[in-house]
Point group: C2
Chain length 356, copies 2
């Protein structure tokens, strides 16, 4: 039985999109491959409101997060973390011998733009990283306010992890001055996992040119240069199946209309929040709630694992809390191609199981 | 029109295998994901004649090549190159600040085991890399003889790129003492590109433990530890579509019978070689010919690009020479699930076009 996945990725993929994963192969050095990538790039530029070049990487979102911090930190990176994925970015810096400091806030809280201001005012840093959407806590950081702070300083490369939000929430890359926006296929874009995506600004390109040891496979500049020189092709063989599915799904997304899509995500989020407030409590700071994922505090002491087992018998699945938050919280994702009715159906089923 | 690809990857994928790429999603932290990976690992251990643990990486083969040389070089790497992919391994070392020396032979020649012996006798190195099959020149290096040399020395981590041969040619990993054998999905395994595979020996595991900056996403030890701790799961979200297709295709491969499969590849190679000798000349040293790919010297001064255009009109495609060898050579791959008749049909079509 196929299960409806309300976990924060992978999520369900529409049948017509899945079928595109079964497209017959083409050579990655063929004209067809160039045409395919150019088509994808143009559509992603619309989705991200940017004129920056688009890079794909056959890797999970983590691959490009690592590539970004390593390729573009010359002096030192300021890593702002409000959960597990912020911490992961710091680990990537450390394991690559990239100088970085970690600035953390409590789980469930958002990054404070004033903290970003204080940190950047030291003049020690030339790159910052934040999560647009922190998958472990359901925070959407105030990216507009943080962007305003970043713009006060010269020469800061601004990296944003939007793995669990891009495609479901409006992020205006150029207007905000984001240099590297990173996402991957298996979340709000509604595709299978296996490919990650980023924008790569002129400032980021110039910066990477000053960094000595950037590696190869995840070196954003190496990918960019090849793409430019070889008419939208990649230095090594990409996942052509994902490229076909992505190109097709971007049509679906643009046909739905970006504003419609973002509104649908907001409506799904509001439905889950209303239910959560009625029966439990929302774990996350209410001023910074995510439109793609809700993290609920288990103040009723239900057995989350047991609830999930029963849901699975009924063909659905939610996520337990992340790491130390297991059983203390649980997570419901509402992203990709789900409709309000799918969300309502899930919540009704939980009500039934828990006797609400 | 779908084209039959006789390029050295991606190659044609059988329809039933392509359909597995469209399998609905599962959570990558679910029991189903663990069961799937364990099944894949057991089958790949049979294919590679090894008890070493199997690691998958959502990346091209280049990703794991870089991960191997970076994760496991403590003193210095000796990179033996007989073509473009050997050179690429050296570039990966340099861009990661990994100490390495490059030992090259002329294009079309194989790595000489005596050269390996002389190099290792210096005592400077603790890791070596070779291509089992060099995709730019059609060389299959004498891996058995090189393995015999490597065994004379203590504590050498032996890395072998079998991206364009594993699955089509017998490589007995444990018997040869290969520590890290690397391949990817889109060549002799007969799958779409997007996932790479390696074996990871106890010696390689111990060595990686002594290396400080291994990065994160391509760090073989990080992947290995997570796999062991979390019951065959991965630190970041893998390409589940590829895992389903790989698991299924490995059954096809094992059902064909490994010896049958390797013999089929040899028969296809012999067919192409006989044709090449009749009309052209084989570019590659005749003592080290590849069973998955033949590189033909264009001593008739045909226009290779034009030949390929005409082939494409007839629904087939071969590859021009790699890099500087363009037009001077051309390449016909014979790997994956092609049968002798497919190869014969290609050669007949070329004959027709060229008026042989």
């Amino acid at each position: 039985m196929t299960r409806k996945l309300f976990i924060p990725g992978p999520i369900d993929v529409r049948d017509d999109v899945l079928q595109k994963m079964a497209t017959p192969m083409i050579g990655h050095r063929s004209k067809d491959a160039s045409v395919l990538q150019e088509s994808i790039s143009k559509k992603l530029q619309k989705l991200f409101y940017t004129e920056s070049e688009i890079l794909l990487s056959t890797s999970s979102g983590s691959g490009l997060m690592e590539g970004a911090i390593r390729s573009c930190t010359s002096k030192k990176a300021a890593v702002f973390s409000c959960g597990a994925f912020g911490d992961r970015w710091y680990k990537m810096a450390v394991t690559n011998n990239v100088k970085a400091d970690l600035y953390k806030v409590d789980m469930g809280k958002a990054i404070d733009p004033e903290m970003v201001d204080r940190v950047l005012a030291t003049g020690e840093y030339d790159l910052i990283t934040i999560q647009h959407n922190e998958t472990s806590t359901g925070i959407t950081n105030p990216v507009e306010e943080i962007a305003e702070v970043v713009r006060k300083y010269d020469n800061i490369v601004f990296c944003v992890d939007a793995v669990s939000s891009a495609g479901g929430v409006k992020i205006e890359v150029d207007k905000l001055g984001i240099d590297i926006l990173i996402t991957s296929t298996q979340k709000a874009l509604g595709l299978p996992p296996g490919m990650s995506i980023c924008t790569f600004s002129e400032k980021a390109i110039r910066r990477a040119g000053t960094v000595e040891f950037r590696g190869t496979y995840l070196d954003l500049l190496d990918i960019y240069k090849y793409l430019k020189k070889k008419n939208y092709q990649y230095p090594s063989t990409p996942s052509i199946s994902h490229m076909y599915a992505l190109d097709y799904q971007l049509d679906n997304i643009l046909n739905e209309g970006l504003d419609n899509r973002f509104e649908r995500h907001q409506a799904m989020a509001e439905t889950v929040r209303a239910w959560a407030i009625k029966h439990f409590k929302i774990f996350t700071d209410q001023n910074h709630l995510s439109n793609t994922l809700t993290v609920i505090e288990n103040n009723q002491n239900i057995n989350v694992s047991q609830l999930n087992s029963k849901l699975m018998e009924k063909g659905m699945q939610i996520a337990n809390g992340y790491g130390d938050l297991k059983e203390k919280t649980f997570r419901i994702s509402h992203m990709g191609d789900y409709q309000i009715e799918d969300i309502q159906n899930l919540l009704n089923t939980i009500d039934e199981i828990l006797g609400f």
